[in-house]
Amino acid sequence: MKNRIVLFSCFILMSLTSFSQSISSSPYSLYGLGSLYDSDFGSLPGMGSSGIALPSDSFINNLNPASLGFMPLNHFMLDVGGKAIATTYENKTLTEKRNNFQFSHIAFAFPVTKNSGFSVALRPYSSASFKISDLILPIADSQETYSLTAEGSGGLNNFDFSYGYRFGKKLTVGVSAALLFGNTVDDRTFTILNSITTIHKRNDYNGVRATVGGQYVIESTFTIGGTVKLPSRVKSSKVQSVETTKDGVVTVIESDKPSDIDDYYMPLEIGVGVSKRFKNVLNVTLDYEKSLWNDTKQSELYGDFVNQDRFALGFSYFNPKKNFRKYWDRVRYFAGANLDTGYLEINGKRVNNASVSLGINLPIENTFSALNISYSYGQKGTVSNNLIKENYHKISINLSLDGIWFVKRKFE
């Protein structure tokens, strides 16, 4: 028992140290609050991130708070994960490979009563890391150009609290509150004629967003689920310094001046999902989610936002003749696909994202804990319309620990 506490605290510590290291740099991070992380828990990454209708019975399902209503009593779950991503960036003329390691999440969940559960999760929400080196840009309405070097860093974190409650045996409802907070730093250097102007900007963001969800077991092998993420406003402000260097002398134009900027708006998002088990061998999950970005009237400060559709399909395979004494009989396998039309429109073109995934769930010895390893390959964006295509190979490793903690041991 004590041993475990030490180990858990060790995890939390490690997670927090790597939290600060979680940097993903994508050219698309320039927009909005940065590029969004997908940090799904447990086996979800292997299932194409589908699972709105899945219960939180063997891992914490972050897709639907209602799933917590199905948490088995006396269990304490912890989920921690990280990702290794190899991305190839490609535009019309160049390709470049970059590897990236990032912390994905840390979450724990426990049942509150025999028909309700609670979870807390901390994960990065977005990364505003990007870099632009000596980009030559035209000065509007002239034949002349200037050069821009820019670097973005920082991003938002998501700290959420979820609660799920089960009515009877079939219906659960859940609610979660996500705290979005963090800041992004944007440094730009403009070389215009013989002058160098640097603009250092720090944007601070904070907001709260609520999600409600439900799951309904139609029959023992067939569950449907739904989530509604409510629109919300992420309050934004900035602190900016502007300096111009000419003739080797720096002139401060503005120093650490705080000001309000247009707030960022999160859209109404509606997701539905089904989960169906076939012959106790295969489970199929299918999700659809729609995000109504058009209605947010997002400021042009963040880019052009369009309504987004997401489709996710997942399969999980169980060994039907499960022999608990044989390790490989208990291993489960996953496959999935995800299609995301994207919410950004750049140069009149949507930045879509499509991926396929494979996963494996390796139980840890004779516990309910498991190590989930999944691999996915995907493409984001396109080469046409001066966009950039990102081809990525991603390995997600999630450790889902499940301990039976709330049982009084009869013998110590």
Partner: protein
């Protein structure tokens, strides 16, 4: 369990190792980049040009004897007389101590040796003629200060002590030699011989100074030449009377005090566009002078530039700054030639509305900004002109809260010791328009 923990520890160690660096070559959506910070080039700001008259240019202590004149249809007639006071290196004749020996010394000749200082302006293929006259008053300023100005004059005797007609070759030759009146030389020689002149005071009492006066009569010269003040001299030769040895001696007289040498530069603008230049605190708009601005060194003609609407740039965006600006001034076609070449640079001063200069135009580092001639000439001389970097000046002007506006006064280098001139086109000039490009960033 334990080995999984170890595995995890290992995995996180890798995660913490960080990420490949991004070379920054991939950029998507260049248009979006300008949403926050727009870079704008403003080239429609009004630039007013005018010509002003600077009252008095200090011309003493300039270390140049400037003599000559030229006449051109744009600026009229220009002439420079050069006044100076002479001192001897010694006021004693060569002797071995005995008076008899001194009595045997006789005057031979006297001449003025003027060393070219490489400055010339005008047509040096034409013969230049000037005369040397004796001053009838001491080289002492009439003004309260101890300086002489381009307008200063001193009285001199009409008798010419020496005269030269020559084709100036200021870069090929070292000096010119003007034979001076023997009577004048004999006079000095006798004063020294008789010990009536023994030191500087007695010498200047006798010879108050000289003036070089270019000839204006039948064939006026068409160039102005500069000579070194310190190395130019008058040399008086003498020798022993009926000596076996043909020993020859000399005494040199030169300008030892450069404050006692000045050039009186005058101009006659009758019949030109700028003949009615107003008083020094006023200006003559380029709209009245055929869309041109004028500068002439020596005579005090300068060009003034105003930016009447610069404060309106504040309204381009809520927050914006002028990060750089470039003023491009073009000399008017056919106003310059091989004889009247363009100066390599322009001197720029900041002045108030009454043309009172406050300082040279400074960049942010506090050093002077010059207008630099772009010599790369193309077929139509479109790129020939002077570039002045005025970003620092305009940013300050834009942000000025008071109503007062500063203007820029353009002059040529060596304004006090040369006679170069230039004609610049204003903003409405057909061929040689002034151009102003302001680089502005919103933040």
């Amino acid at each position: 369990m334990r080995k999984f923990i170890l595995l995890l520890f290992f995995v996180f160690t890798i995660f913490s190792c960080g990420t490949d660096t991004d070379a920054g070559k991939f950029v998507v959506g260049s248009d979006y980049l300008s949403v926050n910070n727009k870079v704008v080039l403003v080239d429609t700001v009004t630039v007013d040009m005018s010509t002003i008259n600077i009252d008095s240019l200090l011309t003493s202590s300039q270390s140049r004897i400037l003599v000559g004149n030229y006449s051109d249809p744009i600026f009229g007639k220009v002439r420079s007389n050069s006044y100076f006071q002479l001192s001897g290196t010694s006021y004693a004749l060569k002797n071995s101590g005995s008076d008899t020996e001194t009595a045997n010394l006789v005057f031979d000749s006297i001449s003025m040796i003027l060393k070219y200082d490489n400055y010339y302006y005008g047509d040096t293929t034409q013969v230049q003629k000037f005369d040397i006259h004796r001053l009838t008053q001491r080289v002492k300023p009439n003004t309260e200060d101890s300086n002489f100005y381009n307008s200063s004059t001193l009285s001199y005797s009409s008798e010419s002590l020496g005269s030269i007609s020559y084709k100036p070759r200021p870069t090929e030759k070292d000096s010119i030699n003007i034979k001076m009146s023997a009577a004048f030389g004999e006079g000095i020689f006798q004063k020294i011989k008789s010990r009536e002149v023994t030191d500087f005071d007695t010498f200047t009492e006798y010879l108050k100074g000289l003036v070089l006066v270019p000839s204006t009569s039948n064939s006026p010269s068409s160039s102005v030449i500069g000579f070194h003040t310190s190395t130019s001299k008058i040399r008086l030769y003498y020798s022993k009377y009926k000596s076996d040895k043909e020993d020859s001696y000399y005494i040199d007289f030169s300008v030892l005090d450069i404050a006692k040498q000045f050039n009186s530069i005058s101009s006659d603008k009758t019949g030109t566009l700028i003949q009615n230049l107003p008083a020094s605190s006023s200006k003559l708009s380029s709209s009245l002078t055929n869309k041109q601005g004028f500068i002439q060194s020596g005579t005090g003609v300068a060009c003034r530039i105003d930016f009447p609407n610069i404060k309106q740039l504040k309204y381009i965006s809520n927050n914006g700054a002028i990060v750089d600006a470039r003023l491009f001034l073009k000399p008017v076609n056919n106003s310059y030639s091989k004889e009247y070449p363009l100066a390599d640079s322009l001197r720029i001063y900041v002045a108030d509305n009454l043309n009172r200069l406050s300082s040279p135009l400074l960049n942010s580092a506090g050093s002077s900004v010059y207008g630099i001639l772009n010599k790369k000439s193309d077929e139509f001389n479109e790129n020939l002109g002077y570039t002045i970097s005025i970003g620092n000046f305009l940013q300050k002007e834009m942000l000025k809260t008071s109503d007062s506006r500063s203007s820029l006064i353009l002059m040529l280098p060596g304004i006090s010791k040369s006679v170069n001139r230039i004609v610049l086109g204003d903003q409405k000039h057909v061929d040689n328009k002034i151009q102003l490009k302001i680089y502005y960033i919103s933040y």
